[in-house]
């Protein structure tokens, strides 16, 4: 099938099906719906984080085991959300459970380092080729530290990021995360758009965005403002958008030519797209890298790694990298077992096997002439409702939100829990998924394909 063969989806039909699926979901979630009313008395929106609520209503979870998740109504799902890509090792993995149960009885927090921090750092060094490490409690803290290191090292305040990417919720990078078309300005010189109310005034002046996969746009910016730029941080975030051949190399070279630093935000790609994350998958080693999510096997965690040069101020103690819970013994114990015994090189073969099954969705796309494309990379995958592959953030604007929202509901009603906000965040598989778990996705996807093309 070529893009030209793709049919037009009947949006009236999509709305009708969405109404039906929403009603079905409400019926399954009587307990979640009533519990929300109790929860919102003391939790705004009834949830612990603004992203834990997605239309039509938040879903409260009881427990998880392996590839499965159960909500408080007792509904079972195959977990393709995996807590925004954290649980690639599966829920309650026996080795992680054992490590946590052991460590918790020995003390979980001293605000002094413990031995386990060293093998974790060594493992990260081996996976990435970056020798020096520090820890934090979230991806937000990790990218905050990276931005600070870049600014401190270069003495320059301007930071470059990619339009339409998320790097956590600290002010410097909470800019043009999902900028709406009306505010985003011209493509080759995007306006920096604050993502939320309440940001520090002037922040947007010091964070500049460029379109993904456009080396020339980045080169042009560096040619104009190179001597102001401390560094550039990059992640692929809108679904699975792959960097063009040579793009990352070109960015690194451009940064270095202008005396700026180059950082990967691997909070999402680390331990998921490959054993060695995006560094391994794309063969480019940055000056600095941020990890979080899958690192801690389900415990709050973050890490910053870098070259000896990039980390020199932290090593020397002239730049404080701090946090009370950083590298706490419990998180380190979980991370050590996770990296050494669970997310081993061999375990990534299982993700490829799952992808071979999931890629049957591509046949469905072809047979039904759906205006959709599919990508998988390790544990990450997405189906984007665009007849041509998404190449940069602004391509997403052409997608009608109603179709991915129906796709999310459809899977949810058939026992598949995908990440909400599926336009830019589709799924994460886990090494403990069965063939049946993968096929369940394919089957309901085909069922929806039939329904929306009837």
């Amino acid at each position: 099938m070529t893009a030209a063969d793709a049919i037009q989806i009947d949006l009236g039909l999509v709305e009708e099906l969405t109404k039906r699926e929403t009603e079905a979901l409400d019926r399954k979630h009587a307990r979640s719906l009533s519990y929300r009313e109790e929860a919102r008395v003391h939790l705004p929106g009834g949830v612990s984080s603004s992203w834990q609520s997605w239309p039509p209503h938040p879903i409260y979870i009881d427990r998880g085991l392996g590839s499965k998740l159960w909500d408080i109504d007792g509904n079972e799902y195959v977990d393709y959300h995996n807590g925004y890509g954290v649980m690639v090792m599966g829920h309650a993995h026996p080795k992680i459970v054992e490590a946590v149960r052991k460590r918790v009885a020995l003390g979980t927090h001293f605000a002094q380092p413990t031995e386990d921090a060293l093998p974790v750092a060594e493992n990260l060094a081996e996976r990435t080729g970056l020798p020096f490490w520090r820890f934090g409690n979230s991806g937000t803290e990790a990218t905050l530290d990276i931005v600070r290191i870049m600014r401190a090292t270069t003495g320059r305040d301007l930071i470059v990021k990619i339009e339409g990417t998320y790097h956590g919720h600290h002010d410097s990078l909470m800019v043009s995360v999902f900028p709406p078309e009306a505010k985003a300005g011209p493509r080759d010189n995007p306006t920096s758009v604050p993502q939320t109310d309440g940001m520090i005034p002037g922040t947007t002046d010091w964070t500049v965005n460029v379109p993904f996969n456009d080396l020339e746009a980045a080169q042009k910016l560096f040619a104009e403002r190179g001597d102001e730029i401390g560094g550039m941080i990059i992640v692929t975030n809108c679904g699975v958008v792959l960097p063009d051949e040579g793009y990352l190399d070109g960015l690194k070279e451009t940064c270095h030519t202008h005396g700026a630093m180059f950082a990967f935000d691997e909070v999402k790609t680390g331990f998921t797209v490959a054993w060695g994350g995006a560094i391994e998958a794309f063969g480019v080693v940055p000056d600095l890298v941020a990890f979080a999510k899958a690192l801690g096997a389900g415990l709050p965690c973050g890490a910053v790694g870098g070259t000896e040069d990039a980390m020199s101020r932290v090593i020397a103690g002239t730049l404080d990298q701090v946090g009370t819970f950083n590298g706490n013994p419990l998180t380190m114990a979980a991370a050590k077992v996770n990296l050494e015994e669970v997310l081993t090189k061999e375990s990534y073969g299982r993700l490829d096997e799952i992808n071979r099954i999931l890629l049957r969705c591509e046949d469905v796309i072809n047979r039904y002439h759906l205006p959709a494309t599919m990508k998988t990379l390790g544990a990450k995958g997405s189906i984007e409702w665009s007849p041509t592959p998404i190449h940069e953030y602004r391509d997403l604007w052409a997608i009608d939100d109603r179709i991915p929202q129906l796709a999310w509901l459809w899977q949810l009603n058939r026992g598949v829990f995908k990440s909400p906000g599926s336009k830019w965040e589709s799924w994460t598989t886990s090494i403990v998924m069965s063939d049946e778990d993968a096929q369940r996705y394919v089957d309901s996807f085909e069922e929806m394909a039939a329904a929306i093309t009837r």
Binding site: P58, L106, H109, P113, A152, D197
Partner: protein, 449 residues
């Protein structure tokens, strides 16, 4: 008394450092290995301490064991986190149960609601969200205040610490050479790498000074979104607010439509059951918690009034984070708050404080040291000045070497306290445990005599 004889103090420091080096050869050797992969050999810059980093091994109740097997009475408690005691049976049980049922979904669980309900009762503000650290909590609180008021500026107290968000990481320990006049301090970034721009949105005021604050409000009150402070300052040793100081701040902030933010990361559930709010009777618009509420798991929380939290409820301010309210931290926090740090516990902490204060009084009178003590629930500390400092600048007038020497004497004497920060006690500490602190203080005083 040689408290002013710095040469003598340097000599005593060298002797204690030598003793400590003999106590901790494994830590010293491990540091050399750790430096090859951990920047500076540590997981956090604060752990790169003088004379060498001490690596922890295990903890149980009031005690920790270091890598060399030295058993130490822990009055550091991980910067005041482990008020529940190390490996508290209730917390261990809660974690062991939850870890087998899944620790992370990025979806809400019922324990998060239970913890929010408890916090609402305990800290007297109704609406709560969670984070993973105190840093994330203060960052969120200030953002919420800016969103709720539509104003830009934030008042921050010199010498208070609010974690490392770019917008607040100023003037925690400013070098006085850069800090401007005492009555009109200027923001000093804590490290390189924080754009000057972020400091421009701050107004710095001294602790315990209503006059300066009144002037700042008079000058720019209608531009100020929030005033953030530690209601009891815990970053300059402990400095308690003067009588009426917090009430006056509450009155001024209310009059100018400014959100008052209490950073109770250190005081929450430690200085009293209901933290500084209960202790002072002053209820702020927003409160930040972290440290002790998780029983030793990474956690943070921000709570507020209906009005303050309006932008979070409506969604115009995104309060978010992948691990926020994760089931494991929530299970630990629920057990810690409802089963361990119960109202009764604070009487036990007061009893320990009685032992500490009596012992201190005895040592002070016998040796005539110019030193004062402050104890508040689980937190306490000495100030090597009499009268005690009332703000940051008075605190930094104290020579750090005398503080460091006491830290070393305590450590070689088997008691682990922070070097300069307040100490902490836990539900597991006994009268005998804290008596060890007094014994070491006696030795310290006799060294100086």
């Amino acid at each position: 008394m040689v408290a002013n004889d710095l040469e003598k103090i340097d000599e005593l420091i060298r002797a204690e450092e030598a003793t400590l080096a003999q106590m901790q050869p494994a830590s010293i050797a491990f540091a050399a290995r750790a430096r090859k992969a951990l920047a500076g050999g540590v997981v956090c810059s604060w752990h790169a301490t003088d004379p060498h980093t001490m690596y922890g091994a295990t903890g149980s109740g009031a005690r920790i064991r270091d890598l060399d097997g030295n058993e130490l009475i822990d009055m550091h408690l991980g910067y005041g986190v482990m008020v529940a005691g190390h490996a508290n049976a209730k917390v261990v049980e809660a974690v062991r149960r939850r870890v087998a049922e899944g620790t992370h979904f990025a979806l809400s669980v019922q324990d998060a609601v239970a913890v929010a309900e408890h916090l609402a009762e305990r800290f007297q503000v109704p609406l709560w969200r969670f984070t993973n650290s105190g840093t994330e909590a203060t960052m969120d609180a200030v953002r919420i205040a800016r969103a709720a008021t539509g104003r830009d500026l934030v008042i921050r107290v010199e010498g208070c610490y609010h974690g490392s968000p770019d917008g607040l990481d100023f003037s925690s320990w400013p070098e006085l050479a850069y800090a401007g006049p005492a009555e009109r301090p200027v923001p000093v970034p804590h490290t390189a790498g924080i754009p000057r721009l972020y400091g421009e949105a701050l107004r710095i005021v001294p602790f315990n000074d209503v006059e300066v604050l009144t002037r700042v409000f008079a000058e720019e009150g209608d531009r100020i979104a929030a005033m953030i402070m530690e209601p009891v300052a815990m970053n300059m040793g402990i400095v308690a607010p003067d009588d009426g100081y917090l009430a006056q701040i509450r009155e001024l902030t209310r009059r100018h439509g400014v959100m008052l933010v209490f950073d109770e990361v250190k005081t929450g559930a430690t200085i009293a059951y209901g933290g500084a709010i209960e202790w002072s009777g002053i209820v702020p618009d927003l409160i930040c918690l972290a440290k002790a509420i998780g029983g030793g798991l990474p956690i943070g929380a921000v709570g507020g009034s209906e009005e303050a939290m309006g932008p979070v409820v409506s969604g115009t301010m995104e309060q978010e984070g992948t691990f926020n309210g994760n089931p494991l931290s929530m299970a630990a926090a629920k057990a810690t708050l409802t089963e361990v740090l119960t109202k009764e516990v604070y009487a036990h902490l007061d009893e320990l404080n009685g032992v500490l204060r009596a012992g201190f009084g005895d040592v002070k009178s016998r040796f005539g040291l110019p030193v004062t003590i402050q104890t508040l629930g689980a937190r306490g500390g000495l100030q090597f000045a009499d009268p005690a400092p009332r703000n940051f600048r008075e605190r930094v007038a104290i020579d750090w070497r005398i503080v460091y020497l006491e830290h070393l004497v305590q450590l070689t004497g088997g008691v682990w306290i922070p070097n300069g920060d307040p100490w902490a006690t836990s539900v597991a500490h006994t009268r005998e445990d804290v008596a060890r602190y007094v014994e070491n203080l006696d030795r310290f005083a006799s060294l100086l005599a």
